[in-house]
């Protein structure tokens, strides 16, 4: 949310989660939490128990002795886990869409984004299912596999995302809001002040206009100098905002590169980043919204100042009012979300990471199956 007004670029207003008390530091129970934290945990527990039960009951050995194909057995376990996850994915997404429709949550998401969201999560669940099966094959005991998988889950869902934020913040620190606003204010005060008729820069501009029109006083000018002064003030402010917000955005993008690099190592962060991009809640969408809103603000304020200057009033005439048609003709803000390809372009490392993880784990499963058949792994 941004408030659009003259003289300043709006500071984005975010949901004040702090109003919920100290528990706000914990994750929220949303669809992403269920799909990216709870469902993988379920797959880990089921995966570690499934093949281990076959192994501990001797069923696995019996199947292999009878000529069963280890690759097919492992593939079957993988497919069961993956199918279960896909069913849960459909349940969560359908419930979320229905809830949103019933609660009047706006237009349904574009088909392309929804499809990519399902595909990405399907890929992610394949990674988790493959990891669960591969761990139970490679570890001698179900206990070892479960402990390794649980440790991986804790590191991937709890530790690494937080550590990434910490490292990114240390490498590319952001200023505090207080310091950022104070610096902008100080820079802004160094320029012309449209509200001050004695401002030196405005006096120079005024003298030039008087000479150009061959008149003695601003009241004799064919336009309203106050509107021109306000636009000069606005344009200087825009330069200041561009400089400061530009630096801030660069720093935010640099932090994002740390997150993307870490996502190659951690499929949980990769799927989180991609789903944020698809849902329109990532940094790229945030910055795109701010840029569009600021562009709209500048156009709007310029139109207002131009009307003030050239709409028919004279300098010092504060009783003049712009006609209703002028206000009616002002365009309303319409947000255009970035195209799907644009939204996904920064997420290529995350997608690559997911694919690499799946390929690696499938190879691990395949190798494990071969070793099982050759008796090199315990069955």
């Amino acid at each position: 949310m941004l408030f659009i007004e003259g003289h300043r670029q709006g500071v984005p207003l975010h949901t004040d989660a702090g109003r919920g008390g100290s528990v706000a530091r914990f994750a929220r129970l949303d669809g992403a939490f269920l799909l990216q934290t709870v469902v993988p945990l379920l797959l880990i527990f089921l995966g570690a128990a499934g093949l281990a039960a076959d192994r501990e009951s001797g069923r696995l050995k019996l199947l292999l002795v009878q000529g069963g194909n280890a690759r097919a057995i492992l593939g079957g376990h993988f497919l069961i886990l993956w199918t279960l996850a896909l069913v849960l994915l459909l349940v969560v997404v359908t419930t979320s869409l229905l809830t949103s429709a019933v609660m009047g949550g706006g237009e349904p998401p574009p088909f392309g984004r929804l499809g990519m969201l399902l595909l990405t999560h399907a890929l992610f669940f394949a990674v988790v299912a493959a990891a669960s099966v591969a761990a139970t094959v490679w570890f001698d005991s179900a206990r070892g596999a479960l402990l390794a998988l649980l440790a991986g889950w804790v590191v991937a869902t709890v530790l690494l995302p937080r550590a990434t934020a910490g490292v990114a913040g240390t490498l590319y620190p952001l200023p505090s809001q207080d310091v950022f606003q104070a610096e902008m204010q100080a820079a802004r005060q160094a320029g012309p002040d449209g509200h001050n008729p004695e401002d030196a820069e405005l006096e120079r501009l005024q003298a030039a206009l008087l000479a150009e029109h061959g008149v003695e006083t601003v009241e004799e000018l064919p336009m309203n100098f106050d509107g021109i002064a306000m636009q000069v003030d606005e344009e200087f402010g825009n330069q200041v905002w561009d400089e400061h917000y530009g630096r801030l955005r660069d720093q935010l993008r640099r932090q994002g590169t740390v997150g993307s690099a870490m996502a190659i190592l951690n499929p949980f962060q990769a799927v989180d980043h991609i789903s944020m991009a698809l849902a329109g809640t990532d940094l790229a969408h945030d910055l795109a919204f701010q840029a569009q809103a600021e562009g709209f603000r500048r156009t709007l304020v310029e139109a207002l100042n131009r009307e003030h200057a050239y709409g028919g009033s004279k300098t010092g005439d504060w009783s003049w009012e712009a006609p209703p048609e002028f206000f009616a003709a002002l365009p309303a803000y319409e947000h255009a979300s970035p195209a799907l390809a644009t939204a996904l372009r920064p997420r290529v490392p995350d997608l690559t990471g997911l694919v690499l993880w799946l390929a690696g784990l499938l190879i691990a499963m395949r190798t494990g199956a071969s070793r099982l058949e050759r008796g090199q792994l315990m069955c």
């Binding site: 528990v23 530091r25 937080r162 550590a163 505090s176 310091v179």
Partner: protein, 460 residues
């Protein structure tokens, strides 16, 4: 253990960075404040009303003395603020108190990257979530390994009971994990320059939490018959108490408050302001005098009509009353959410510890709310000063300005409060865990004795 200590060290470093950022904001605000006061004193010393290119500025009026006094009230982070650096805290680090200031419109001091908003590694996280995991990793095999390998029967035959042996091992695990956590707490305290009493308090809380999870570990190990079963059970308990219940509590608490991007609040504030200014002074004055009866007896009140330069401050009185009312409503709403958080302590020791540590460190939503309340009180006092000075109808001078500057509060440090309930919850959790574990150990001991007896009969 090494991983735990490494993450803990990272948490301490990040906590110090957080405190340094707050102190940076304070230093910048102090400089701005000094510059503003110096500028005003220069004008007053030269007998000038204000800057030469701003003819409307006149330091003889309370409006401009209030502006140039530029009272910045900093939030003193306190010595242990770094331990809760990851707290959600939506109040500024420094606030400029003036007659028109609105602390509820001010956002937090952080600029956050939405892509990295996955929480932070702070000591609250390390102790609350990772310490139980460390205890689990160190102690999950206690009891169940003996049962798996039938070593428990041997101990029974030789010693009569394995109870003391299992309790001693659980206590040892708790002591090792608690020792590591204590090391981190002491390091965090020393790095931040906290007093030994503060460090002692932090260490006691940490040891109590380690004791609590040792009790839960004992309960799990007493129940599980295999290491795998213990891992399942402990993992389930940890996931439930440290992830699912806190998540559910957060959702319930947020359901009690408005989280609409501050839209309603901003519109309310602006609407009240416009409503006030649309009223004529004749409608505002009776309300003002009802709130500030002393004004009616002061020199300016005798003039009819009231001097416009004085009358404009009548709106300040109305607006500050509206501000106090908005703050009261918000506080009541947040109080309801805070109760959910407090109740969450009874369902999750991780919530109990987070609440206790954030309140102990003076960071987080509760500290932010207390700071906002303090600011509203200061703004009310400032508006009262502006009104009473304006109604004196006398030009102000350098002495008045100096008195205003010297009367300004320097910084605000929230006092730890609301610690009793989460602490009580932690005590109950510890008691319940240990009681259940000990009872369960007695039960499984009798079962083992029965098995031993049967085994002896068969052998005979």
């Amino acid at each position: 253990m090494l991983a735990f200590l490494a993450v803990g060290a990272l948490a301490i470093v990040l906590g110090e960075r957080f405190v340094a950022q707050l102190e940076g904001a304070h230093a910048a605000a102090e400089q701005a404040q000094e510059a503003s006061v110096r500028e005003a004193r220069d004008y007053l010393a030269r007998g000038e009303p204000g800057p030469p290119d701003r003819a409307w500025v006149d330091l003889g009026y309370p409006l401009w003395q209030d502006w140039y006094a530029g009272t910045r009230v900093a939030r003193d982070p306190g010595p242990l603020a770094g331990i809760a650096a990851g707290a959600v805290d939506q109040a500024p680090a420094v606030f400029r108190v003036s007659r028109l200031a609105d602390p509820m419109a001010a956002g937090g001091y952080r600029i956050e990257n939405p892509e990295l908003a996955a929480g932070a590694v702070d000591l609250v996280f390390v102790l609350g979530l990772l310490l139980p995991l460390l205890i689990g990793v160190l102690g999950l095999h206690i009891g169940s390994r003996e049962r798996e390998t039938r070593l428990d029967l041997l101990i029974m035959v030789q010693a009569g009971s394995d109870r003391a042996w299992l309790i001693a091992r659980t206590l040892a695990v708790g002591a090792i994990a608690g020792g590591a956590a204590t090391g981190l707490c002491v390091a965090a305290g020393l790095v931040s320059g906290a007093s030994w009493s503060k460090i002692g308090g932090l260490v006691l809380l940490t040891l109590a939490y380690a004791g609590l999870w040792s009790g839960l570990l004992l309960a799990v190990n007493a129940r599980a018959t295999t290491v795998r079963g213990a891992a399942f059970l402990y993992g389930g308990v940890w996931t439930l108490l440290c992830v699912l219940v806190p998540t559910l509590s957060a959702e319930l608490a947020l359901g009690r408050v408005q989280v609409d991007y501050a839209l309603a609040e901003t519109l309310d504030a602006r609407g009240l302001r416009y409503d006030a200014y649309e009223q004529g002074i004749e409608a505002v004055l009776p309300e003002l005098y009802a709130r500030y009866p002393r004004l009616e007896t002061m020199p300016a009140a005798a003039a009819d009509p009231l001097d416009p330069l004085i009358a404009r401050h009548a709106y300040d009185g109305i607006l500050v009353a509206a501000l106090a009312e908005r703050h009261r409503v918000r506080l009541a709403e947040e109080q309801s959410a805070r109760q959910v958080a407090n109740w969450g302590s009874w369902f999750s020791p991780a919530i109990a510890l987070s609440l206790t540590l954030e309140r102990f460190a003076g960071v987080g939503p509760d500290a932010a709310a207390a700071y906002r309340g303090h600011l509203v009180t200061l703004i009310e006092a400032r508006v009262r000063w502006v009104l009473e000075t304006a109604w004196q109808d006398q030009p102000l001078d350098a002495e008045d300005f100096d008195a205003l500057v010297s009367a300004a509060p320097s910084s605000y440090r929230p006092r730890p409060s609301g610690l009793q309930l989460p602490l009580l919850a932690m005590i109950v959790w510890t008691f319940a865990g240990w009681t259940y574990g000990l009872r369960r150990l007695g039960h499984s001991g009798r079962q083992a004795l029965d098995r031993t007896g049967r085994l002896a009969e068969r052998t005979a």
